[in-house]
Subunit: 192 residues, 4 copies
Amino acid sequence: MRTKDESKIEALHQAVIDVINHDGYQNLSVAKIAKKAGVSVATLYIYYSDKKDMLGKVYLKIKDLIDAKLFNEFDPQGPFEQQFKRLLRNYADAICTYPEKAAVMRVFNSNPNLVAEDVYSQSMDLGKPVADLYRHGLEEKLIRQYEPEIFISFTFNAIDSLAQIRFMQGKTLTKDEVDQLIEMAWAACKQN
Amino acid sequence: MRTKDESKIEALHQAVIDVINHDGYQNLSVAKIAKKAGVSVATLYIYYSDKKDMLGKVYLKIKDLIDAKLFNEFDPQGPFEQQFKRLLRNYADAICTYPEKAAVMRVFNSNPNLVAEDVYSQSMDLGKPVADLYRHGLEEKLIRQYEPEIFISFTFNAIDSLAQIRFMQGKTLTKDEVDQLIEMAWAACKQN
Amino acid sequence: MRTKDESKIEALHQAVIDVINHDGYQNLSVAKIAKKAGVSVATLYIYYSDKKDMLGKVYLKIKDLIDAKLFNEFDPQGPFEQQFKRLLRNYADAICTYPEKAAVMRVFNSNPNLVAEDVYSQSMDLGKPVADLYRHGLEEKLIRQYEPEIFISFTFNAIDSLAQIRFMQGKTLTKDEVDQLIEMAWAACKQN
Amino acid sequence: MRTKDESKIEALHQAVIDVINHDGYQNLSVAKIAKKAGVSVATLYIYYSDKKDMLGKVYLKIKDLIDAKLFNEFDPQGPFEQQFKRLLRNYADAICTYPEKAAVMRVFNSNPNLVAEDVYSQSMDLGKPVADLYRHGLEEKLIRQYEPEIFISFTFNAIDSLAQIRFMQGKTLTKDEVDQLIEMAWAACKQN
DNA sequence: CATGAATGAGTGTTCATTCAT
DNA sequence: TATGAATGAACACTCATTCAT
């Protein structure tokens, strides 16, 4: 049955997220995942070739979810600063909307060998639109003439960094904090 | 009686660092550590009460190493901007000097349950001098009137973030990158 | 799916009995048990939550086996002396029928911390019928006006004691010995 | 130094007894014993060839202690019944005087492979005077014409059995109970 | 004599994965 | 498709014993 399949996959994905956030990922066993999802371990292996495969798919799904929010009201033709801030606001929005999932993504990002290499690309690969924006800002001399990774550090990663701290404190980013983060990110990146 | 072999402790510490960097810490087993250090598993338990104890001690040792560099030529009475940058430069220096150890510290920092709670203090607790500097900057209105954690995100964590990316690429921060990071951090934090 | 293999449980139970009788219970390791039973250690943990759980279940099974024989042809309304002797004969019968199992039960009885507290009841708890018989004998002044435990020592435990000696000599109680034990037990307990 | 040696041996012996009574004998490790005795493990191996050797010596020492009390005021030429009861009273006395040591002896008696075979002789070998008394009683037809082991079961072992139950309840035999045990033992054994 | 250091073999238990139904 | 049963390899940790000082 089709629907049943989907519900099991969904349950498994959620179980991965729950277990990582509840027990930490070094206690993430397939047995625990299957139990929490309410399916048998053997069933898990019908849907995924192995544990790595499963985690990879969870990772991608979370990534897609966050990416989906990223380009809300984003207009590549719009004024640069506005689009820059738009992007960061969307990102902050996304990780505030799905704090547990964002936490899981952070775990995956800092533990590359949890998932297969091909599924994974470190350094916050946010895809073509972001790359375009970077190039645009560079050419128009609106941002500093630095390597892209350094911008990642002062934008997405800086937001992530505070979000992680807050998550560990049982909180999420406040509206004020998001504003502050964006202001600081822009101050850091913009060309004077 | 047989004398305490300091070289074995050193070998064990280095083994922890090597294994984490080579296999990731979810594959960090006492057997692997002992083997790489060239001692028996039982010997490990002479020096440490358990795995957590050992990791905690490695963590503290690394932290001390980095902290030792942090306050080089640091003068709490000196001009604020200079001391701010001095601190960050020292930090960048430290993690460039010990890239593998810095990588291990990142792992520990994002996996608090690896070590005992008492040994561990989350959110980049850089101690009193840093706290003093922050308070000073705040009072003199030299930096933005934000919470301390947000500054951590745009200073130490931002540097860490790029260092991590570079480390994964098999590189370390270049001199130029350190300069750029410091400039951006200052631009982000300073009060206009 | 693969069906539950009752023979494996049986093999495990028998292995526990064999290992205890062969190597003593301080050499009773799960590895040894599994090996002797011809199953993997991991399989053992499918059927039992841990070692203690397993031993507890073996204990209960043996106890049930012996208890089943205990009340053969036992009539609470029958003449006291006859029922007293009936009980002891049945008991002797039981431990002669299952000498290895009786030996194991003795080990469990003198090492209460081998099994969980709830599964275990010390001091030869032979249940209600025995308690009834004791009370009856006491009230009718057919036995000495002593505490119940002292009777246990001169009845079941005395039989057990000789059975243990014989078992260590590779023998079981002879028919004559059982008769003698019962006569002496009665002589010891009866009110003159 | 001579005195120091003895005090260490004494400490080790007492440690064995304490550990067995406190933690059970299946948790009886040389490390625990040495620690409790306040000596190093290696030191232990100066005095004993191995663990078994040590336990054997503890066993023998305890046995000697109890045996020493056994023949108090015992006169092989005295009236049989009186000597019979004298012996049992002395035995009860002994295990009431040293309840922890008696408990340890019971452990050794029911776990023969804890000590070397030669040091150990099962079935409560109480030595020549007891054997003489038995033979005497048998010849004079003062006791039943049964095998010696069966008498052990209804005398020493019966006393032991109740003492064990009481010890597990945190008590020792009362004076009344000793009287009752002796009466019952005599009633069981005597020839009518 | 005394002991901290050292270890190979073992402890109970869990792992990710596969099998048979 | 779904799953309980099964397992070899690994897990963290302890053992009795020996070594070197």
